[in-house]
């Protein structure tokens, strides 16, 4: 390398990157657009079908159901995540003994694979033998058909996902809370503000950026939902937990509809980008 001319050095250094991006990012994006106009089972030659895939997508009830399932997941997951994470972060953000211990235990599910967490929760959510229903029975609350009812199963998965991820968001909120200047609280104290008023009018506005970040991260995470319903319910009961990524996977690797599956992926990706862009815009205003 010493002998090469100085001007070439940067190009030698970035060439592997450019090659990699070309093969694994740029080509796939272009190829996915080509695929959306074709019907292909990966073995016989590709067949041009014009806009058929898009027309099919618009009428594909199962795809829209999978989108709706994902939205239902997010509607429970995001608010729950924010409330629990913010509350626990607020409790931790003070002169707390054993803070490191609490933080470490909240964070434990974050580092473990979703595969482990799902297998674990499958047992916890069991109707008869599950720990959660046993605790409910102990408090004389009727048992909940967590995974058996199509009206409940997706929310049960949202509950589990919150349990798994909330530790990360607690840390992010703690970082956010520490950026609020102490003077603001002191000023509020002079005004005789209550604890809740301080939280509502000082803390909340100051950590808005963190809340936004949590919303975006959980949205992207929710749109990627796959392994949890795949293991927990295989999309059931009655397709009520079929996520969009699961449906894309099914179209590609069970039915070998590569063209259609790529169309779903393409459409879904645009949708994700649009949702995140709207969220960004909303926050800027």
């Amino acid at each position: 390398m010493k002998l090469t001319s100085k001007r070439l050095t940067p190009y030698i250094l970035i060439t592997p990157y450019l090659l990699h991006v070309a093969v694994f990012v740029l080509f796939p994006v272009a190829f996915s657009i080509v695929l959306t106009f074709h019907s292909w089972n990966i073995i016989s030659p590709m067949k041009y079908v014009g806009l058929d895939n898009y027309a099919h997508l618009l009428k594909d009830r199962l795809f829209w159901q999978s989108l709706w399932n994902t939205v239902r997941f997010l509607l429970v997951h995001i608010p729950l995540q924010i409330v629990v994470a913010l509350a626990l972060a607020e409790f931790l953000n003070g002169p707390i003994r054993g803070r490191a211990f609490f933080r470490a235990s909240f964070f434990l599910p974050v580092i473990v694979s979703g595969v482990v967490v799902t297998i674990l929760w499958q047992q916890l959510l069991g109707f008869n033998a599950g720990m959660i229903n046993k605790v409910l029975t102990g408090m004389s609350i009727p048992k909940v058909p967590w995974l058996e009812s199509p009206d409940v199963a997706m929310y049960a998965i949202a509950l589990m996902a919150t349990w798994k991820n909330v530790g990360l968001y607690i840390i992010l909120f703690l970082v956010g809370l520490q950026t609020v200047p102490m003077q603001y609280y002191e000023a509020a104290d002079l005004e005789g503000a209550t604890r809740w008023q301080k939280f509502r009018y000082v803390t909340l506005p100051m950590i808005n950026p963190t809340i936004f970040m949590v919303v975006v991260l959980s949205t992207i995470g929710g749109f990627s939902l796959f392994i949890e319903p795949y293991i927990m319910t295989e999309g059931g009961p009655l397709n009520s937990t079929l996520s969009a990524v699961m449906y894309i996977y099914r179209q590609a690797f069970q039915y070998y509809h590569m063209g259609y599956s790529a169309t779903l992926g393409f459409f879904f990706a645009l949708l994700i980008l649009a949702v995140v862009a709207v969220q960004k815009k909303y926050v800027e205003e």
Partner: protein, 270 residues
């Protein structure tokens, strides 16, 4: 005072709700099938049978080895390649730098759902299905790692590089012997993030690996759990899950602070 007690009570309750299920999981995996329904923290009718059954039915040892090989090679390459590109972006001037930044941001923004199917087809075309290559090569370049290295390198004094140049060091020696040792926290962060992402991911392996001997651990445990081979025996499924969790939890016990700091930084990237 009352508030203080309430806060500690709530925190303890929360901590229990995160820890207890893990303890229960280990205890259940060591219990007889009849004893699993118990909420107790100690195994009921202690037995190793669930673990023996797992090893009897699936090549979990092999899958562990596969995961270790794939994760080690990929993480090393992410570090080496990330340092090279990060150095070029941080310390060298060249035409097209803006294009590289654009590509990095583009890659990081792009939802994976769009590249999933085409990348699978690329693997088929290259004949990489059922090989380590399919698990390694797509992940050796990591945009976030590049950005982290760039940022870290920018914080180092130019004098460090100039002195090395005077001694006749080439660019590679400057990068790996002078700069990288000075940004070890960044190296740790990238290592943890890459390791975690690869060790825990099941979706991509499910797509490109069909041969049981090449499967990674999360993939094999997933298929074992959804397939019929666990024979609906809960204890056996749970034992497989415990073995998937143990390596990460052990590392977490030792490097807890690094784990938390690294993962938080990945959340803060936007």
């Amino acid at each position: 005072m009352i508030r203080k007690i309430a806060v500690y009570l709530l925190l303890t309750l929360a901590a229990l709700s995160f820890l207890y299920p893990f303890v229960w999981m280990v205890s259940a995996s060591l219990s007889s099938e009849a004893g699993i329904g118990s909420l107790r923290l100690l195994p009921v009718e202690f037995t190793w049978q669930n673990y023996l059954t797992v090893f009897d039915r699936i090549p979990l040892g092999r899958a562990f080895l596969n995961s270790v090989i794939v994760v080690t090679i990929t993480t090393s390459l992410v570090l080496v390649l990330g340092a090279l590109v990060g150095y070029a972006l941080a310390r060298l001037e060249f035409k097209g730098k803006q294009l590289v930044f654009f590509l990095i941001i583009f890659t990081m923004t792009l939802p994976f759902q769009i590249t999933l199917i085409p990348n699978y087809i690329t693997m088929v075309r290259l004949g990489w299905v059922d090989t380590y290559l399919a698990l390694i090569v797509p992940f050796v370049m990591n945009s976030f790692a590049i950005l982290l290295f760039r940022q870290a390198f920018m914080g180092l004094p130019q004098a460090l590089i100039d002195a090395a140049r005077m001694d006749g060091a080439g660019e590679l020696r400057i990068i790996f012997q002078i700069l990288v040792p000075n940004v070890l926290p960044t190296v740790v962060t990238i290592t943890i993030l890459t390791f975690m992402g690869l060790w825990n991911d099941a979706l991509w392996p499910l797509i490109v690996i069909r041969n049981e001997q090449t499967m990674t651990m999360p993939q094999l445990v997933t298929l074992f759990s959804v397939g019929g081979r666990a024979d609906a025996q809960l204890g056996v499924k749970i034992a497989a899950a415990v073995m998937l969790a143990v390596p990460v939890i052990l590392l977490y016990l030792f490097f807890q602070k690094h784990f938390i700091r690294s993962m938080a930084s990945s959340g803060l990237k936007d």
